[in-house]
Structure formats: C-alpha cells, structure tokens
C-alpha cells in the first residue's frame, strides 16, 4: 500500500506525443476535399467558353491585400514558434497575437468583399464555385483563429508551454500554414487565372 514511489499520473509506459503526426495525416486528408473543389472548378473553367461568365467581374484589390496579409502571417506565426523554442513565452504570445490579428483582418476583408461584389452565391456556376470555395476556406481560417486563441488562452498559465513542451503551439502553426497553402492555390485559381 503505502510504498513511497514517484507517483506518475500515467500508469503505463509513456509513448511519444503523436498529435503532430495525427494532425499532419488529417491535413493530407483534408487537402483532398479542397482537391475535389479545385477539380470541379477546373472542369467548369475548361468547359466554358467565357470564364468567368459575363457579368461576374472578379474584384482583385481587396483579395490581393488579403493574400499578402495571410501569406505574411505564416512567417509571423513561425517567429512565435521560434520564440517558444527559446523558452520565450512573451515573444511567442506577441507573435501569436499578431497572427490572430492578421487572420481577423483577412476574415473581415473577406466579408467586405462578399458585401461589395456584384454577384451572389446563386448568380452562375462561377459564383457558385467562388462563394463555396472561398467560404469553405474562410471557415478554415476561422478554425485556425480559434486554435491560435486557444494557445494564447493556455499560455497564461505559467509553465504551460516551454522550450520542451509546445505541441499545441506547433499544431496551431501547422494548421495555419495549411490554411495558407490552400489559399495560395485558391487565389491562383479563382483570381489570377481569371485574368488570362
């Protein structure tokens, strides 16, 4: 009974924290959902003479600014990761707050774009694709934002994250990069390619 032993919370052999691998596997899977949307879009693009159809003018200014913000936020979040690996929780918080802000600005820009565009979800097949794809991506940015806020919330606890303990931070960062990569493809397809 009362044998003095180091009481470990886990009663069996520890195994490595595998959550990052889980997330990576999940993201590979999820990128195929976007793949399905991209393929659909490309199919329509290839089978229509005029693309986007008459009357759907793609607005470029706001999305381009948005793209620059989102892509730079991937670097910003990485600084946060570097900071925590040097045990610098304050620095990590700074960069993560900045990332969250940039993400929020991106979303706001998207909402602004939706409100000012001359067409809606049901206008034509291009508009269908446009809103569905950007909307789904926006949803992912939102989830990423929640992850970052979660990290920030937890980082208030002293010692919660450190140079050796930062899986949550890493996961938020990986997810954010994923969202970013998907956006670059989306931006290319939905905006840049329509110029040609």
């Amino acid at each position: 009974m009362a044998i003095a032993t180091t009481t470990s919370p886990s009663h069996h052999e520890e195994h490595k924290d595998l959550r990052v691998w889980g997330l990576l596997t999940f993201l590979i899977s999820e990128s195929l959902m976007f793949g399905g949307f991209f393929a659909t879009y490309l199919f329509f693009r290839g089978s229509n003479e005029v693309w986007p159809p008459e009357g759907t003018e793609v607005e470029l200014l706001v999305p381009t600014i948005n793209t620059i913000i989102l892509v730079s936020s991937s670097f910003v979040i990485h600084f946060g990761d570097t900071a925590i690996k040097k045990n610098n929780v304050k620095g990590m918080r700074f960069w993560y707050i900045l990332t969250a802000l940039m993400g929020a600005i991106f979303l706001a820009g998207q909402v602004y774009e939706y409100m000012t565009l001359g067409y809606g979800l049901t206008t034509n097949v291009f508009a269908n694709c446009f809103y569905l794809m950007t909307g789904f991506h926006g949803l992912h940015v939102f989830v990423g934002l929640l992850l970052i806020l979660g990290v920030l919330w937890r980082s208030r606890l002293p010692g919660h994250y450190s140079a050796t303990k930062h899986t949550g931070i890493e996961m938020a960062e990986i997810y954010w990069h994923f969202v970013d990569i998907i956006w670059i493809i989306l931006f290319t397809l939905l905006y840049i390619l329509t110029l040609f």
């Binding site: 009974m1 044998i3 032993t5 180091t6 009481t7 470990s8 919370p9 886990s10 009663h11 069996h12 052999e13 195994h15 490595k16 595998l18 959550r19 691998w21 889980g22 596997t25 999940f26 590979i28 899977s29 999820e30 990128s31 195929l32 959902m33 976007f34 793949g35 399905g36 949307f37 393929a39 659909t40 199919f43 329509f44 089978s47 229509n48 159809p53 979800l121 049901t122 034509n124 097949v125 269908n128 694709c129 569905l132 789904f136």
Partner: protein, 558 residues
C-alpha cells in the same frame, strides 16, 4: 512469444493493472454498462462498432427481404414503388456505410490492431470514441429520412434524380454520409499513426500481422478518397438547399462531375470493404490450416498495391456516361491491373491451404466459402472492367450479381469468419460449432441461390433498381427470392449463437486456436490495458509447424 520486459514504471495512484500481490483500483474488465457509454478503450470501441453495425445489418437485411418479396412477382403489388426505391436506396447505404465499413474497419480494426502490434491502446483514444459515436446519429438520420419520403436515388445519389425527388430526405441522407465519412477519416488517421508509431520495438516490420498491413492500406485509402466524396456531397447539398447549380445542366452545371467525385471515393470504398477482410483471411487461414502463410511479403505488399492502383480505376463505373474512348481504354487497363494483386492474395491463401492440416471450424468454413464466392465476384468484375462488355450489362442485374458476390460472398463472409475466429478473444467464450455449421450452410446456399441467377437475369437485360419487371424474368426472380428468405433465416442461428455463447458459452482460455499473433498472448477477454507486461516478439506471426511455443502472457509472467 516470450515476455521479458518488466514495466518500467511502478503503478501510480491510478494504476489499473493487477500486479501480483499489490492492490489495484480498477476491475480487470469493464462492467456491462461501460459498453453503452463514451468509453475510450479500443476494445470497448471495437465491440461497440461490431454490435451497432450488426444491428444495422439486421435493419438493412429486413429491407432487402421486403424488396425481394416485392420482386417475387413482376408487378409492384407489395410495396409502393416510392417505398421500394426508398428501401433500395437505404438498404445499400446502410449495408455499405453502417454495416460493412464500420464492422470490418472500426470493429475488427479497433479491437485487434493495438493488440496485434503490442500497444496498450490506439494513438488517440478519445478521437477514437468520437469516431464511433458519429455512427449512431448517422443511422438515425437515415431512418428519419423515411418520414420525409425516403431518399429515392440509390446509394449513389446521382443528380439530377437526387435533386428532384424527396429533397428533405435526400438532405438527411447527405448529412448521414458526411457523419460516417468524418468517422472514417478520424478512425483512419488513428490507425495510420498507431500502426506506424506504436508497434512494440521488438516487432520488425516483417513480423507485423497481415491484418495490420491491410488496415494500414485501408486507412490510407480512406484518408485519400473520403474527403473527395465529402466535396461532392457538399456541392449536392448546396444544389438541393441553397440554389446553386453545380449539377443542374440547364443552369450551366454538369452531372458527370458528380459521378467523378462520387466514384473517386466509392470505387476505393469497395476496397475499404474488402481489404480488411483480406486481412482477416490472412489471419484465419494459417491458424486453422496450421501452416505458415504462403508469401507473407507478397500479401502485405499487394494490399498496398491495391490501395495505389485502386485510386486510378474509378471511371469503370462511368463507361456509359459519355466517357471518351481514350478514357475507357485507360480505365479498362488500370481496372484489369487491380486483378493482379488481388490474384496474388488468392493464390497465397490457396497455397497456404494446400497440404495444410485443415481444421474445419466455422471460421475456416466461412473463409473457404469466401474464397469460392469472391473468385466468382472477382471474375464478373474483370468482365465488367472491360468497357465493351460493361456497356452491355451496365445497370442490369449482372452488376447486382457481381457486387453481391464480392460484398456478401466476400465482405460479409469475412466478417463472419472474423467473428467466429476472434469471439473467444473478445468475450472469453467459445461459440457453438454446430450452430456455426448450420449458419454457414444456410448462408452459403442462400447467397448462391439469391445471387447466381442474377447473372443470367442481367445478361438477359433485366434492369436493376426497379420494382416491376417484364414477366419473362419471373422464374429466375422467384429463385432469387427464395434464396433471400434463406439468407434472412440464416441470421437466426448466428444471432442465437452469439448471444447464447456470450452469456454461457464454454470458457475459451487465452489461446484456444493455438495461434501465434500477439493478441492471443493476453487473457480472454483482454485486461483493460491489454497486458500486464508488454510482450516481446521473438518470432514471426505465422510460424506454424515450426518449433515455437505459443505462450500466454499470464503463464509466462507468473
């Protein structure tokens, strides 16, 4: 397998394991009500999957029997055609998404994979439980859809039909499939991470049981294909409810895109239903034939080959949808190529049986039955994989015959074989062999009687998915219906056997079949954390007839 490594940590205050002499805080096994709760133990989850899936099998089976009763006569005199369509659609949906996939992957995979690789649980136990609990609501959504007319468009939900019949029911159907799809993605990522990273260090890759190789390949396939189906279904949902026109040709949409998205998932889905079964076969056959499996590596790699090639054949379901000639050519060839790794497996099993000391247990009977029926189904598959022939029989009963030979004669037989084989491990009790034989004979006769005549019906041109048919087909249809009744009855001895044996069957002991894979080294049913001391692998999993001693964990450690 001998056991050497003591646990490197003394039991802490939450210790769950009995270490001889010391007290412990948890029972060795779960109480019955733990099986109805959000439990994170992979074994509980495996049983939850198996039992829930079996209940859905009974529901889907009742629908099938009702349909066959309708088809006993050429007229639609028993079911109203709309109800027939709803039964047809949801029968297929339930059998695929709520019976075969969840029991073969979720059920056996969860119960066995950690035990077979020497882990205490899956990599993400909570995620695992979440994945399971997405299934019951999906089933309820499907059943609820009957109150809104029932989805009518077949399990493929092709637009435009799915866009014009029963919109609410169809939306519920879509949500249900998205739920099971999510479940399968979460489950699969868990399997991949568990198999890749949680093997006991002493197990080399060529000592990984073939079932785990199969689950690995299955999971990769599910991870890559399921999201594409989700994409297609989301588009369909938007078309149904939010006024988009992705699949509405009159508004610039295109229905063939849906077919591509759908089959990019659903062709691989047929491997989701058969690869785990192949895994079960590779475990059952060597144990009951007392011989090492023939061509371990060939069988392991052929799973991976099927997984890769399987991603490139989906268009063979669309040969008749205006597919251009070069595509037909490409997909005919790629389809025929899949038959090669499949054949490799079949030959591996036959060669294992050859000259073996075969024990005709119920598990073995189902495995041998599977071999015979799956070869039939595979051959009719190859005929249809060639575009010129497929154009002729597409959407006839020939297709129905084919996929029931592979799905019933293959997947369902395999699930039965797996249950007879692992029941002693899962419950600690043996199943009754006499009832098992009766079950096998009824199922074998029933399956052939139901589905063999369908080949002929298809060749003669009877279309599938209709409640009424030309009277010239009556005779063969009567035979099919009798077969279906026998199949319906065949479930009874099985259910009785399972329930009765679970409660009062003969005690099984740790290793009733004298098998060599790791799951048999622990107690039956396994203790909560699988082993008191993790096993050390000292030989391959199939070295039957060689001079190795199958040791049970308890024997070695006490």
């Amino acid at each position: 397998m001998t056991l050497e490594i003591p646990r490197n940590q003394p039991p802490g205050k939450e210790a769950t394991i009995v270490v001889s002499g010391t007290t412990h805080h948890h029972p060795e096994a779960w109480k019955w009500y733990h099986y109805f709760t959000f439990n994170v133990d992979h074994k509980v989850i495996g049983i939850q999957y198996l039992v829930t899936a079996f209940l859905f099998y009974l529901i889907g089976g009742l629908m099938a029997v009702a349909m066959r009763a309708e088809l006993a006569t050429p007229d639609a005199d028993l079911l109203d055609p709309n109800l027939y369509n709803a039964f047809m659609t949801n029968h297929g949906t339930i059998m695929i998404f709520l019976w075969i996939v969840p029991s073969a992957i979720g059920g056996f995979g969860n119960f066995l994979v950690p035990l077979m690789v020497g882990a205490r649980d899956m990599a993400f136990p909570k995620l695992n439980a979440i994945a399971f609990w997405l299934n019951p609501p999906a089933g309820l959504l499907i059943l609820a859809s009957f109150f809104f007319g029932g989805s009518q468009s077949g399990w493929t939900a092709y637009p435009p039909l799915s866009l014009v019949t029963a919109p609410i029911a169809q939306s519920l159907w879509i949500l249900a499939i998205v739920l099971v799809g999510t479940s399968s993605i979460l489950g699969s990522l868990n399997f991949v991470v568990t198999i890749l990273f949680m093997k006991v260090p002493s197990m080399k890759w060529d000592q990984l049981p073939l079932f785990c190789w199969a689950i690995l390949a299955t999971s990769v396939l599910a991870l890559l294909s399921t999201p594409v189906l989700a994409a297609g279904l989301v588009l369909l949902l938007f078309d149904l409810n939010f006024g988009t026109s992705f699949f509405k040709p009159d508004a610039g949409g295109n229905v063939v895109i849906y077919q591509h998205l759908f089959w990019f998932y659903s062709h691989p889905a047929v491997y989701l239903m058969i690869l785990p079964i192949f895994g079960i076969m590779s475990e059952v056959i060597p144990v009951h034939a007392r011989k090492p499996i023939f061509g371990y590596k060939a069988i392991a790699y052929s799973s991976l080959a099927i997984c890769v090639v399987g991603l490139f054949v989906w268009v063979h379901h669309m040969f008749t949808s205006g597919t251009p000639g070069w595509m037909r050519m490409f997909f005919t060839i790629s389809t025929l190529i899949v038959a090669v790794p499949t054949g490799v497996k079949i030959f591996g099993w036959v060669a294992t049986l050859w000259g073996g000391k075969i024990r005709f247990t119920s598990a073995m009977l189902f495995a041998i039955g599977l071999l015979m029926m799956f070869v039939m189904g595979g051959l009719s598959g190859v005929t249809m994989g060639t575009a010129p022939f497929d154009v002729h029989v597409h959407d006839t009963y020939y297709v129905v015959a084919h996929f029931h030979y592979v799905l019933f004669g293959g997947s369902v037989f395999g699930i039965y074989a797996g249950i007879y084989h692992w029941f002693p491990k899962i419950t600690g009790r043996m199943m009754n062999e006499t009832l098992g034989r009766i079950h096998f004979i009824l199922t074998f006769i029933g399956t052939n009687l139901t589905f063999l005549p369908m080949h002929e019906l298809g060749l003669q041109g009877m279309p599938r998915r209709v409640a009424m048919y030309d009277p010239q087909f009556t005779h063969l249809n009567e035979i099919c219906t009798i077969g279906a009744y026998i199949l319906g009855i065949s479930v009874i001895p099985f259910t009785i056997n399972a329930l009765w044996s679970w409660i009062g069957g003969k005690q099984a002991g740790d290793n009733p079949w004298n098998a060599l894979t790791l799951e048999w080294t622990t107690s039956s049913p396994p203790a909560i954390e699988n082993w008191e001391v993790l096993p050390v692998v000292s030989h391959g999993p199939y070295e039957y007839g060689h001079d190795v001693q199958p040791l049970a964990a308890t024997e070695a450690s006490t």
